[in-house]
C-alpha cells in the first residue's frame, strides 16, 4: 500500500542540480535544498554498500536508542585492583592502544607518576627504564570498561568510581578528578602530585564510598540534564553539575564516620574543583556507549579517544577495532606564558562526552564556555546545530533551552560524518608537551576525517 498524497502539493527536498529546485521555486513552491557535497575520501562505493545493508539503518537507530536510554548511577568508589582487577604492573591509559615508545610526553609523565605512586620506582629515571621494559603492561581504558581524562592513567591502587546502568546492565569506571594545575592526568609527577593521589586513595575514596552507601546511588544523567539547563555542557564546563552533585551528597558526607578534618577536606576538595563532575559524566557516557556496542551493521560511533599520539574511534558494527590517525593539535586559548608550541597533540578519553551527546555537542547550552574555547555565542549555537547533521537521535533527557529544549544531538553515525564532511565538535583541554608541565590551555579540536573514512570502509567490507 503506497501512501503518496496526490492531492496535496508536496514539500520537495532537492539534492542535485540547482535547476530543478529553481524550477520548483518558479512554480511558487518552497523546496528544501540539500547542501550536498561529494563524500570525504572518495567513499561513495563504501557508502552505497552500507546503504544496501538493510539492517544497518535499524541497527544504528537501535544503538542510538540504547545510548540515549542508559541511566548510569554512581554506585561505588573502590580501588582499581578491586574494580578492574588491575595488578601492580598494569596500567590503563586514554585513547587507542599505544606503547611506551610511541607515548606522548604527558602520557609518559603520567605513567612515571603512577609508577612512583605504586612504589614500582623511586625515581624518574627508574620509572623511565621500567616503562621501556616489558615489566609493565599498558592497555586502553576503553578495553576495560573504563575511561580516563587526558592521559587517563589508571593504576591498581587508585580509587575509581563505579557507575552502573540498570537499564542495559553495563558498568563503567573512572578515576576521581584531581583538580587543576599540576596533576597526573596532564603528565605531572612532582611529589605534591603523588601526595594528592595518596590522599585520594586513603581519604577521598573511602569517604565517598561511605557517602554513597549512606546516600544511595546518584543518578548521573539526571544531574547532567539539570546542569545543561544551568550552563554546563558536561565536558569543559562542569561547574553547575559539580555544585548539584555536592548539594546532593553533602548530607550523607556529613554523616560519615570520618574525622571532621577529613570531611572538611573532602568537601573543600570537591567544592574547589569545577571539574570534579567530569569524571562522572565521562563514565556515564561510557556506560551508555558500551550499551550500544556490537550491534551488527550499526554505523554508530561508540568511542572517540586520544592518547596524545593518535586519535581513534570505534564503531558499534565493527567491534573492538580502532580506526586511528595522528592526533591533531587543539585550536584554542593558552594560559599566560604558553603558546601552541607548548601544546601536546590532543589527549584523553573525555571525548566520550561528545560520543554520548554532550560536551561540544551541547555547546549551545553553555554559552559561558564559548569564549574560553575561543569563539562567540553564535558559534556555540552553530556547533550544536551542525551536530544534528551527523547524529541519529536527539537525547530525551539532555536538552538545550535556547534551542527550544531540543534534545542534544546524540549518536554519531560514521557514514553521516563522511557524507557531510562535518566532523564532531570537541571541546577539550590542552596538555603541555613536556612531562610534568600540566594544562596549558583549552579549545576546540577537529578530529581527523580519515578515521571516519576508514571506519566506513571497514563497515562496507563487512557487508560485501
Amino acid at each position: 500500500m503506497i501512501t503518496l498524497e496526490l492531492d496535496d502539493v508536496p514539500v520537495v527536498v532537492t539534492a542535485g542540480v540547482p535547476l530543478f529546485s529553481d524550477a520548483l521555486t518558479q512554480q511558487a513552491a518552497e523546496p528544501i535544498s540539500v547542501d550536498w557535497a561529494p563524500p570525504a575520501g572518495g567513499a561513495s562505493a563504501d557508502l552505497a554498500a552500507i546503504a544496501a545493508d538493510l539492517r544497518a539503518a535499524e541497527a544504528t537507530v537501535e544503538s542510538a536508542r540504547r545510548l540515549t536510554t542508559a541511566r548510569a548511577h554512581w554506585v561505588d568508589v573502590v580501588p582499581a585492583h578491586e574494580a578492574l582487577g588491575l595488578t601492580r604492573g598494569e596500567f590503563l591509559h586514554a585513547g587507542p592502544p599505544t606503547t611506551w615508545a610511541t607515548a606522548s610526553g604527558p602520557l609518559r609523565g603520567a605513567l612515571i607518576g603512577a609508577m612512583i605512586y605504586e612504589g614500582l620506582a623511586d625515581s624518574v629515571e627508574e620509572a623511565e627504564r621500567l616503562g621501556a621494559s616489558d615489566e609493565i603492561s599498558l592497555a586502553p581504558c576503553h578495553s576495560r570498561g573504563a575511561v580516563g581524562p587526558m592521559a587517563g592513567v589508571v593504576s591498581a591502587s587508585m580509587p575509581v568510581s563505579v557507575l552502573h546502568d540498570e537499564v542495559h546492565g553495563k558498568r563503567a569506571y573512572c578515576t576521581l578528578n584531581e583538580g587543576l594545575g599540576k596533576v597526573l592526568r596532564f603528565g605531572a609527577y612532582a611529589p605534591e602530585v603523588i601526595e594528592r593521589l595518596r590522599w585520594m586513595e586513603h581519604v577521598l575514596g573511602p569517604l565517598l564510598r561511605w557517602t554513597l552507601r549512606k546516600n544511595g546511588p546518584v543518578d548521573i544523567p539526571s544531574v547532567l540534564a539539570q546542569a545543561l539547563q544551568m550552563g554546563d555542557e558536561g565536558h569543559n564546563r562542569n561547574r553547575a553539575a559539580t555544585s548539584l552533585l555536592l548539594r546532593e551528597i553533602t548530607p550523607a558526607l556529613l554523616e560519615t564516620e570520618a574525622s571532621r578534618a577529613d570531611i572538611k577536606a573532602v568537601y573543600r576538595f570537591i567544592s574547589g574543583n569545577d571539574h570534579f563532575f567530569l569524571n562522572l559524566s565521562m563514565p556515564a557516557g561510557k556506560a551508555a556507549a558500551d550499551a550500544a556496542r556490537d550491534i551488527p551493521g550499526s554505523r554508530m560511533v561508540v568511542a572517540m579517544a586520544r592518547n596524545g599520539t593518535d586519535f581513534g574511534i570505534q564503531v558499534s558494527g565493527t567491534g573492538d577495532e580502532w580506526f586511528t590517525a595522528p592526533a591533531p593539535v587543539v585550536d584554542g586559548l593558552y594560559f599566560p606564558g604558553f603558546s601552541a608550541k607548548d601544546a601536546n597533540p590532543d589527549l584523553g578519553d573525555s571525548t566520550i562526552t561528545e560520543t554520548s551527546g554532550i560536551g561540544g555537542f551541547a555547546m549551545a547550552a553553555a554559552p559561558a564556555i564559548v569564549r574560553f574555547v575561543g569563539g562567540e555565542a553564535a558559534d556555540a549555537l552553530r556547533n550544536t546545530l551542525s551536530m544534528y547533521e551527523i547524529t541519529v537521535a536527539e537525547h530525551p533527557l539532555y536538552q538545550v533551552p535556547v534551542l527550544g529544549f531540543r534534545g542534544t544531538p546524540s549518536g554519531i553515525d560514521a557514514t553521516l560524518v563522511v557524507r557531510t564532511g562535518i566532523v564532531p565538535v570537541v571541546n577539550t583541554g590542552i596538555a603541555g608537551r613536556e612531562p610534568g608541565v600540566g594544562q596549558v590551555g583549552a579549545g576546540l579540536v577537529t578530529p581527523p576525517m580519515s578515521v571516519f573514512v576508514d571506519a566506513v570502509h571497514a563497515l562496507a567490507q563487512r557487508v560485501r
Binding site: I2, V11, Q27, S44, S222, E389, P396, R406
Partner: protein
Amino acid sequence: MSARVEVRRGFYRDSVTLLQASEAVAASPGVTAALVAMATSLNLELYERLGFEPAAIADATPNDLLVAVQGADDAAVERAIALLDARFAASAPTHGSDGFGASVPAHTTTSALRQGGTLSLISLPGAHAFVEAMDAVQAGKSVMLFSDNVPVEQEILLKDEAARHGVLVMGPDCGTAVVGGLGLGFANALQPGPVGIVAASGTGAQQVSCLLDAAGVGVTAVLGTGGRDLSAAVGGRSTLAAMELLDKHPGTELAVILSKPPDPAVAEKIRAAAAAMDTPSLVAFVGRGQRDLSAVTGDVLAALGVSDDAPTEWPAPYERAPRGGAIRGLFSGGTLCDEAMAIASDTLGMPIRSNTPLDKEWALGPDLRAPGHVMIDFGDDQLTQGRAHPMIDPSLRLERIAEEAVDPDCAVLLLDIVLGYGSHADPATPFAAAIRKAREQAAAAGRDLAVVVALIGSRGDPQHRDATAEALVAAGASVHLSNAAAARVAVGLIEGAVR
C-alpha cells in the same frame, strides 16, 4: 469521581514547563485536581494536600515525574492525560523551530526531510544517488530519482525497500513527474483533470500530457517510473505500485500506462494488473509497429468521450517542394527520437542511422556521422556525460544544425523542442537564429533546407508555447504539437509535396 496517579521514571523537564503543563491539565474539562511535577518533597506535600493517595507513589524519587489527575469521571481523566502527553510530545525532541540561532543548511536528504519535506527529488550523479534515495525511502518518503547511471541492483533494492515502507520510487532515470500539481524534473504546466499517467518514458509522458492539455484535458498526476522499470530484472516494481496508487485515488478517472515495449513477461504482468484495476485504464506500449504517442492520446480522449481534433500545427511560411536528399533528426527526447525513427523507417523503407538505432545494423560510429537519413538522441547517456541535458543546454544541437546547413546531402532538418519547467528558459531565440542562419547558408548554396519542429509544450508553460512556435515559423520552420505529425511531414517532404 476518578483518579489516576503515574510515576514516570527518569523523566525530566524544567519546572516552568511542568508548571504550565500542570495548569493546562487542571484546566482540562471535568478535572477537579491535577499535579504534574517532579517528585520532590515539596511536591509530595502538594500531592497529599490535593488529596491523592500517598501509597501510590511510595517509591518515587526526586528524579521521577509525578502525574496525578482527579476528575469527574474516567473520560475526563483520560482526556487530561492525553492532553499532557500531547504537550510533552510537542516539547520533546523533534526540531527546535522555537529556539534561537540561524538554522544550519541540511547536508543530507535525511536532515532536509526532518525540516518538513514530504518528497525527495534527486538529480545527483548516479554513484551518489542511491544513498540519498535510501535516506528518503527509509524515512517513509517517496522519491523522484532523475539521476541515471544507477546500477540495476541498487534500483531493485531501492524499490523493494520502497514497497516495505509504502512509498513510491520514480526512477532512476525518471525525467518528469507531476505530483499534487507540482512539476518535478522536466515538467509541463498541466491543468488539473481526470487522467493519471504512469510512464516509463519521460518525453513520452510529456508528449501525451501536453496533447491532452491542448485538448482541454488535465491530469491528476504523472508518475514516472524510470526507463528500466519494465525490464525483466526490475519487473515493473514501480509501475505496479504507481498503478495501485492511481487505482486507490478517487480523483483519477482514467489511468494511462505508457512505456516503450517492455520485457514480454513484464508486459503480461502489467496488462493483468491493469485489467484488475477498478479504475478504467489504458495500457500503451509505444514503439516500432505500435501506435504512436499522438494516436494513444487520441485513444485516451476517446475513452473520456472528448472530441479529438488534430493537434495544432503552424505551417511553414512558404510552399515547400518535395526534394531528394536525407532527413537529419536532432532530438533531445529519447522517446520522441524513437517515434520519429519508427515512422521514417516504416514509411521510407530505409535504414535510419542513429546513436540509439532501431536496428543494431544502423548504429552510428562515435563521430555520429553517416550519409543518408540520420537521427540523433542528444539526451542519450553517452552524450550527456559531463554536460547538461540538451533540453537545458542546446549548444550541441545548435552546432549540429550549423554543420547540417553546409551538408549538401541534408534536405530536411527535424527537431524537437521540449518546453516546461526545468527546460531552457527561451529556446525560441537560439533555435530561431540557428534555423534562419542554416536556411540562409543552404540557400546560398542553392538548396532549400526544410525545417520541421515538434514543439512539446502546454499553454501554461513558462516559455510561452505559441510565441515560441511563431518565432520558429518566422525563421522558416513548420511547427507541430504532435511529434508523430512532425515526423510524417518531414518524411513527406522527401517523398512528395506536403505543405
